[in-house]
């Protein structure tokens, strides 16, 4: 008998005899959240949550403003970015000499700021959702010490529950789905907070039109 069969047989038997309490039904089924708020409220909520996380954010009303903001934030830093066609608002036009997912690993690792779009943004928690895929290297939001994410208004959703519900197909098509909520942090040493171990210690978000 294979190990697999042995384990499954034991589990099948055990789940019948084991003392497994039913779910506590005291408060009734979880109430569905309120109706999804309109975009301005969503943006406000998103920005508020970002601030609480220590993430600087900018709301821009035109693609040109987005470009200007990107240039100002990136400055002279070397960039590791998503491919041009994956970045919204043609942002690639203002990135100079950016390394990509196809660049050698040591070049990627040397970049000072990662620039990405996002696949969704969650207002309730101030989160960015990045799916892996062609032209969307995971390293861009992971290796450099800073991460700039450009969010379109249409990317915004209310909650993680909503995201899981509405975007199940996109999630299924990706090898990896990462939800990023704030800068990397640790409090392992005496519960004292330190940022930037091991992911980016600085996260900046631009919300475009």
């Amino acid at each position: 008998m294979s190990v697999r069969t042995a384990i499954l047989d034991r589990v099948r038997h055990a789940q019948r005899t084991g003392r497994i309490p039913g779910a506590a039904a005291l408060s009734g089924p979880p109430t569905r959240g309120p109706e999804r708020p309109a975009p301005p409220a969503l943006i406000e909520r998103f920005v508020g949550e970002l601030a609480a996380l220590g993430v600087e954010s900018f709301v821009e009303s035109s693609p040109d403003d987005v470009h200007a903001r990107v240039k100002a934030i990136v400055g002279a830093r070397s960039v590791l970015a998503w491919d041009a066609r994956q970045l919204p608002y043609d942002v690639d036009r203002v990135l100079v000499g950016a390394a990509r997912g196809s660049s050698p690993r040591d070049v990627q690792a040397a970049a000072q700021i990662g620039v990405t779009g996002c696949d969704a943004a969650i207002a309730e928690t101030g989160s960015l959702v990045l799916l892996s895929g062609e032209g969307k290297p995971r390293t861009a939001s992971l290796l450099p010490p800073a991460h700039l994410a450009i969010v379109r208004q249409t990317d915004l959703c209310d909650s993680m529950s909503e995201f899981f519900r509405e975007r199940a197909a996109d999630i299924a098509a990706a090898a990896c789905c990462t939800v990023i909520t704030g800068p990397s942090r640790t409090a392992d040493i005496e519960l004292t907070l330190t940022l930037g171990v091991h992911g980016p210690g600085e996260v900046i978000v631009i919300v475009g039109p």
Partner: protein, 469 residues
């Protein structure tokens, strides 16, 4: 560690002044953060009910979920391995390492790998495991063991961290936390970039989609599951939920319970090796499903404990844990959850003392995000131990006598009278400062008042019927 030496380990912990300070501060901080996080959660009760339902339903239907999980993973291009024992699990991981020619493996936090002692097995096979969770990295440098499920070096001061880094990494001594963390970051970055093999645990597996969910704050989980060519997930079979909606319910309570955050910085859901067109991500994804006693737990009175989501909230609120810390519990999982899980995984015989290391206050049950009834399970284990092999034997005889005497009122009154007289004889100024035998444990820290000459029943009879004077 000899399991029957629990009392000795506890004594040692109680005498460790620095540990006491560290534990008090850490559990107090984490505990109050948890409380605030739940106060701000809308519909907290409904959310906890949903998380409980997700986990209880999963373990009640575990065999079906495991089969579905496996088939999804395979369809997504991952490899699924099954291990009945810790040795088998280690053997599988070592085998994968050998086949891929890996000599270094970066690891993100995995309690299950502590349970199986995977690191020793890898080292013996010539593969160097490198812990990358900052706390676990320090633990590894010190050849220590983690003392808390989510805050592994809660028992260490920054001075101790500075010293071990100076010794093992050849860097100048400092106790500045930022510098210490930066040192670790630099050293581990080199490892992330060149490791052939990444090993992680899993916080949850989602049966419907074949997803493996990892929650971290540092990003080492992302590194380990992105940079190396091969990624191995080691997970207990009980870690499943049925659907993404169930995962969502659990994620809502996990970080809040553990650290007081709404959600951890990184929530990574992996379901496949890299897809065509991806420029990073592992080429091979392996999932090792481990039993190691879980199916035995599932069959009995403590099956419920398999619903634990490893948040650590019970540790932070437990007054026993707060006083003795994690190492005293002697095995991988400390605190209230450990007192139930360790006898389940390792056998009750050698671990029979753990379920008794509790005053049954119930604070753990109160804070558990999935409402596990830990006191009930501790009592069940105590009963199983007493039925199987009561120790000490004198206690078993004493209880038999108690059962006999306390169901015979006249005899009970007579015996109680003897006991009362004996106590009163030892009393000075109405108090007893030293008691013999097992009862001597009482007078170590407390006095005992001399009982009154007459019982309440005597006084009531003497009073006759009528109102109070």
């Amino acid at each position: 560690m000899t399991p029957t030496a629990f009392v000795e380990r506890a004594e040692g912990a109680l005498a460790d002044a620095q540990l006491q300070i560290a534990l008090s501060r850490a559990t107090g901080t984490l505990g109050s953060r948890r409380a605030s996080a739940f106060e701000s959660l809308e519909n907290a009760d409904a959310v906890r009910d949903a998380a409980r339902a997700a986990r209880m339903n999963a373990i009640a239907n575990l065999s079906g979920l495991l089969e579905r999980f496996e088939s999804k993973l395979i369809a997504n291009g991952a490899h699924v391995h099954w291990a009945e024992t810790a040795e088998q699990a280690n053997h599988i991981v070592v085998g994968i390492a050998r086949r891929t020619g890996a000599t270094r493996a970066v690891k993100s936090k995995s309690m299950v790998s502590e349970e199986t002692h995977l690191n020793e097995a890898l080292e013996q096979a010539g593969v160097t495991p490198i812990e990358t969770d900052l706390g676990e990295y320090i633990v590894q440098l010190r050849h220590d063991r983690p003392s808390h499920i989510i805050a592994p070096i809660i028992h260490l001061t920054r001075q101790q961290v500075g010293r071990v880094m100076e010794e093992r990494l050849n860097v100048p001594y400092t106790d500045d936390t930022k510098t210490l963390a930066a040192t670790a970051r630099a050293k581990l970055r080199e490892e992330f970039l060149r490791a052939d093999l990444g090993i992680s645990g899993a916080n949850f597996g989602v049966a419907d989609t074949g997803s493996i969910c990892l929650v971290t704050n540092e990003g080492n989980g992302r590194m380990v599951t992105t940079m190396p060519r091969v990624h191995v997930v080691l997970m207990g079979i009980e870690k499943l939920v049925a659907s993404m909606a169930d995962l969502d319910a659990c994620l809502k309570v996990l970080a809040r319970s553990g650290t007081g955050q709404k959600i951890t910085v990184y929530t990574t859901m992996v379901r496949a090796p890299r897809r065509p067109g991806d420029t990073d991500g592992p080429e091979e994804l392996h999932v090792v499903l481990l039993d190691n006693g879980r199916s035995r737990i599932l069959a009995g009175d403590t099956a419920e404990i398999l619903g634990c989501i490893r948040c650590g909230a019970c540790l932070n609120v437990c007054p026993v844990y707060r006083n003795i810390g994690g190492h005293a519990y002697g095995d991988t999982y400390p605190g209230p959850v450990g007192a139930v899980v360790t006898p389940g995984l390792r056998g009750l015989g050698p671990w029979r003392e753990l379920p008794h290391a509790s005053s049954l206050c119930g604070a753990c049950r109160d804070v558990c995000p999935v409402r596990l009834d830990i006191p009930r399970m501790l009592l069940a284990l105590r009963a199983a131990a007493a039925a199987d092999d009561p120790q000490p034997k004198s206690l078993a005889w004493g209880m038999k006598a108690f059962g006999w005497i306390a169901s015979r009122p006249a005899l009970y009154r007579a015996m109680a009278r003897v006991g009362r007289l004996a106590l009163r004889a030892r009393a000075r100024d109405g108090w007893i400062g030293a008691l013999p035998g097992l009862a001597g444990g009482w007078t170590k820290a407390r006095d005992f008042p001399a009982p009154a000459a007459r019982t309440f029943q005597d006084q009531w009879r003497a009073r006759g019927k009528g109102r109070a004077s």
